[in-house]
Symmetry: C2
Subunit: 353 residues, 2 copies
């Protein structure tokens, strides 16, 4: 188990999705957060829903009082380059023999100064995004025994990881042994294993997804895979398809932010619920059939009454169970979809005609 | 312009798809082929359809008589490792100052002995598969002016590259300036440019496809993109989708081997013509609409009468123009699809509902 000191100076509120995910969901404890803007306060004072009493501090030096074992880069700076001011903090952490954990595109292990310092102090630099070598997809995923559930979405950054973490929690409360499968850097930091599938060479991305469900089979009796991208995302849809085919899911959970009308950063309209379901199910039907069993809405931007209205509208349009599992808890959606997931593996028909 | 000496000892007939493609289609001339099994004969004696009088020789030393400028590895050895016997030939070619051109997964530039020799003799080692750094998909492909046509298929290795090269030939004969866009190693060797999209990191594969059509816009008035994989190929479909979204095609040509009933190496059935058309068009409709305008069948394994029957059956099933452009020439199919391709850009409707 790690004890994390999280680095997120002047960015904790706005640009620290990784920090928030790790604080809220990781089994590893966050002992302090470097954010001078809130020094003296605790995480709960600023973001109550993260359920953490970790203190904010102003520097690595101050954070060391809380006995961390690792420094985690908690933000994703625009362009992927590390702010110059952060280098000194990272070097201070290395000198204090903390492991450094980073999900940045710019790799710690490509930085000669960090590599030298890490060698001197016997410290590991963990670039979470660097994938291992994986074989081509083999079809072994088709023989995995526990049910495999994949989150698919209307776009990237709509909450697919959070939905699967919340459903894992509900499954655990009901006595199952869920294996959450991380497919991106924050998920990997939370679970302590996984592969950032978006960094794998295209030919091998379904093979990476397959390796993840083969590993998950050893870890639990219900496999819940974090999704990536969206099936009509012009840049990231191939990663979505790598998971859809490579994980060989038995069932899908659709995650939608109903307040977005187009794919983030592109002039491509968001698909309707029905078009999303049709598109995902039609693709699965060409390889291994799987059905969308429920819909998780991200209603963060809506009032509570507007959230209920959006949930009702999605229910009417699709006839499926719908809920916001962050806002209203995961139990209702889990109980609605679990029978379908657990009853057996024939949830759709293969289509060739 | 290069003059190729092609290395394919004891594998020319069975396992030299790259050699065949380069001999038949590259503008660069093949001056000789190293294949001791046929020494004394010419390519035309063994494979008449390659239309080449290049002689077979037994070694690099013999091949040098024909004044090559480059040695091209013409086969794909199983497992990607270079047979030990070939190393000596490659070193002999480097010593003779030939450029070395390779599409192998094992990179020449990772091999210390080859790198040292190349440095000593001032020779370039061109690993065709290594992609350049490319940006994320931006949407600039949507503004490319010439019509963009993408080959899509029922599986990999059904002839998508050959179909687009044949259609390029027909377009040229009719006075157009077609730009053939290579997306895999053999296509790159034939055209002298391109990106092996299957080697690009997943997040950037659509960006690579976009860079290719942006480059093609400078090269011609009709863009014909070599396809990859197949949309229900469990391992390679994400590369297919990277081209489908990243190239932003206006029209699709469907390439099918009707004699295969399942995806090569997998227990996944081949889709029917109608299911293939529906699946490809449905995906395009979610981002930028495009229609399948014609079907190219690969009837190599069929008798001539069986080939005609297969073509007729595909026509009846789909109502589209169908032909085998290798067996019967590309003119008929080109003339049938060109009006649709050239008449304008609105070939389908975006679907969101």
């Amino acid at each position: 188990m790690r004890k994390y000191l999280i680095l997120a100076p002047h960015q904790f509120l706005e640009n620290a999705k990784t920090a928030h995910g790790v604080i809220r969901y990781a089994e590893d404890e966050t002992v302090a957060v470097i954010e001078p803007d809130f020094a003296g306060k605790r995480v709960r004072d600023v973001m109550p829903h993260l359920l953490s009493d970790a203190p904010f501090v102003s520097s690595v030096a101050q954070g060391l009082r809380y006995s961390p074992t690792a420094l985690l880069i908690g933000t994703a700076p625009k362009g992927g380059a590390l702010p110059a001011a952060w280098r000194g903090e990272i070097l201070a952490a290395i000198a204090a023999k903390l492991e450094i954990v980073s999900g940045l595109h710019d790799l710690l292990n490509d930085d000669a100064e960090f590599v030298d310092a890490a060698r001197t102090h016997g410290v590991r630099l963990w670039d979470v995004r660097v994938p291992p070598e994986v074989p081509l997809f083999s079809g072994a995923a088709y023989d995995v025994q526990p049910p495999i559930v994949l989150a698919v979405g209307s776009d990237c950054a709509v909450g697919k990881m959070t939905v699967m973490l919340e459903l894992s929690r509900a499954a655990r409360e009901r006595g199952r042994r869920p294996a959450f499968v991380p497919t991106g850097q924050t998920g990997i930091m939370i679970a302590g294993w996984g592969i950032a599938v978006d960094r794998v060479i295209s030919d091998f991305a379904p093979g990476a997804a397959e390796q993840l469900v083969l590993e998950a089979e050893k870890r639990g009796d219900l496999i819940l895979v974090e999704g990536q991208g969206g099936i009509n995302h012009p840049a990231y849809a191939p990663v979505t398809l790598s998971l859809l085919f490579g994980c060989a899911p038995d069932a899908l959970i659709l995650v939608v932010d109903p307040t977005r009308d187009r794919i983030e950063s592109y002039s491509v309209p968001r698909l309707s619920y029905r078009a999303l379901i049709r598109t995902y199910e039609a693709l699965c039907a060409t390889v291994k059939p799987a059905r969308v069993l429920g819909i998780a809405l991200n209603t963060r931007a809506l009032s509570e009454s507007a959230a209920h209205a959006a949930i009702d509208a999605a229910r009417r349009e699709t006839g499926l169970p719908v809920d916001d599992v962050v806002r209203f808890g995961p139990s209702a959606l889990y109980d609605a979809v679990a029978p379908g997931i657990l009853k057996g593996r024939v949830l759709g028909e293969r289509v060739t005609a």
